[in-house]
Symmetry: C2
Subunit: 287 residues, 2 copies
């Protein structure tokens, strides 16, 4: 345990702002946020974690639900604004943690590598065949979340261990489905938006079938969403929901919603609003 | 004209980041954003403008629609994320400009002063009777937008003069309704979320009636939204829509939507997604 802690201490570098007075940037900064740097021991890849704490975090000793995001190019901004408005009113306040793309890499390469379950060099619906060469490292990335990100944020922040929420959209939704069938206990709630179930000849359906052969339980509450304007992806999401339901997994609750009039890119803010209301409604038992 | 320019040059201080290398902050920064400082000559109040430019802004000479936001504590983050996802796909890319609360003041005082149409010291539904003492300065704030903010951003950025979009929520929606009946030509599109039409014994209905006595035109496209869970505010918004429609103003297009299952604070991200799709759909004529 102590050895693990020491390893962790070396693996991460935590930035604290000694002084803001020398700040020269004029970029728009989201309040109550800061950045942790983390280098994965397993992959050697470097990431940043973007943290948003509740407004009154330092004024109490409460533990808070965790909302874990990927694709931080848009997700942290949207989630921070939505939580600012809804926290304490529609939903419990939460700690947001966004995992950046790996430092020094093209974001499209990073998300293809980290979020896809299988190596599929010929997948033409991905970002490009060039980045598909790096595909299929989700299990390494899931271990990174489990073994490196979680220990760091659990020792740094007061996080409720019974209310860990995964949010993923598109490839991030595919990643969430993958976590569900490999490490479902990693999160309590899964908000999966417009998941890319088409990936690699719908490989996620096969991976789930393999899982079902040897497993009877899947402890998680899953909320899946898709825009009505997303073509064949609508049917694919509903088919995956049906496949999961047909297993009658012990502990699994799953529901889905087709969002009328919305597209792949307009659905995110709407589904995040709805998903957070379902996962951490204010009426739920307090901490 | 030249004199006006000189005045403007003195009235504002534009920060440009000489170097980001000395940056010490670890707050989360939204990409493609920066901050302008502006001091109102009329009121003496100081504000910041938070600007988000399109990703390819510096690579072309195109003009872009303007999205003007208030209540920047949440609106800039939500809008930046939504535009990041939707721009070039569901909507035209836009320039976002958020006007901060006045520097050195309580945000609740600032928004009560700047966004409310009338002095109403006894309005009990406001933030507090204490800040109501400062209420009713919207006409001064509208002049600030018109005479100081617009000249600055028009000379600094390439903005389409036929696609200026106002976004306001709650008191910000009330402010938008006020602009509509005092300076409707200031914006081409009005996205008004959950407007506080209850304010000061529903004074906005009376102000609109006064306007209607002497005016036959109101050149604007208005999109109004409210959450179905907002109680009497739902009926008030629909009543205001009906009152506007009953005038048969030349040039006015107005539509509204009651957002199922949403509250005052969960409605914003949803209505912004919908409103931008209506105001600047990608299919519309390009610039």
């Amino acid at each position: 345990m102590f050895f693990k802690f020491i390893k962790l201490a070396f693996a991460v570098v935590i930035f604290f702002s000694a002084s803001l007075s020398a700040k020269e940037s004029t970029e728009f900064e989201i309040r109550n946020t800061h950045t942790l740097k983390i280098k994965s021991e397993v992959s050697g890849l470097e990431y940043e974690l973007y943290i948003r704490l509740p407004n009154d975090y330092s004024e109490n000793n409460k533990k808070y639900p965790l909302v874990l995001l990927n694709d931080t190019g848009y997700s942290v901004a949207v989630a921070s604004g939505i939580v600012h408005l809804m926290a304490g009113r529609d939903i419990e306040d939460v700690i947001i943690v966004g995992i950046s793309y790996s430092k020094g890499h093209n974001p499209l390469l990073s998300r293809t590598r980290d979020y896809t379950p299988t190596y599929a060099p010929n997948e033409k619906r991905g970002h490009s065949l060039e980045v598909q060469k790096y595909s299929g490292k989700a299990s390494q990335y899931i271990s990174f979340i489990s073994d490196e990100v979680f220990p760091l944020i659990n020792q740094t922040y007061r996080i409720r261990q019974d209310k860990k929420i995964f949010v993923g959209h598109s490839y991030g939704g595919l990643l969430g489905a993958n976590i569900l069938i490999t490490n479902s206990e990693l999160f309590d709630y899964y908000i999966l938006g417009s998941p890319s179930f088409w990936y690699d000849n719908k490989v996620m359906f096969r991976l789930e079938s393999d899982f079902a052969k040897n497993n009877k339980a899947m402890k998680a509450s899953v909320f899946m969403y898709i825009g009505s304007e997303e073509g064949s992806m609508v049917e694919e999401m509903l088919a995956f929901e049906n496949q999961l339901k047909s297993r009658d997994y012990q502990g699994l609750s799953i529901q889905s919603k087709v969002l009328s009039g919305l597209t792949h890119h307009s659905a995110f803010a709407v589904l995040l609003t709805d998903g957070l209301q379902k996962a951490v409604p204010r009426q739920s038992k307090g901490s």
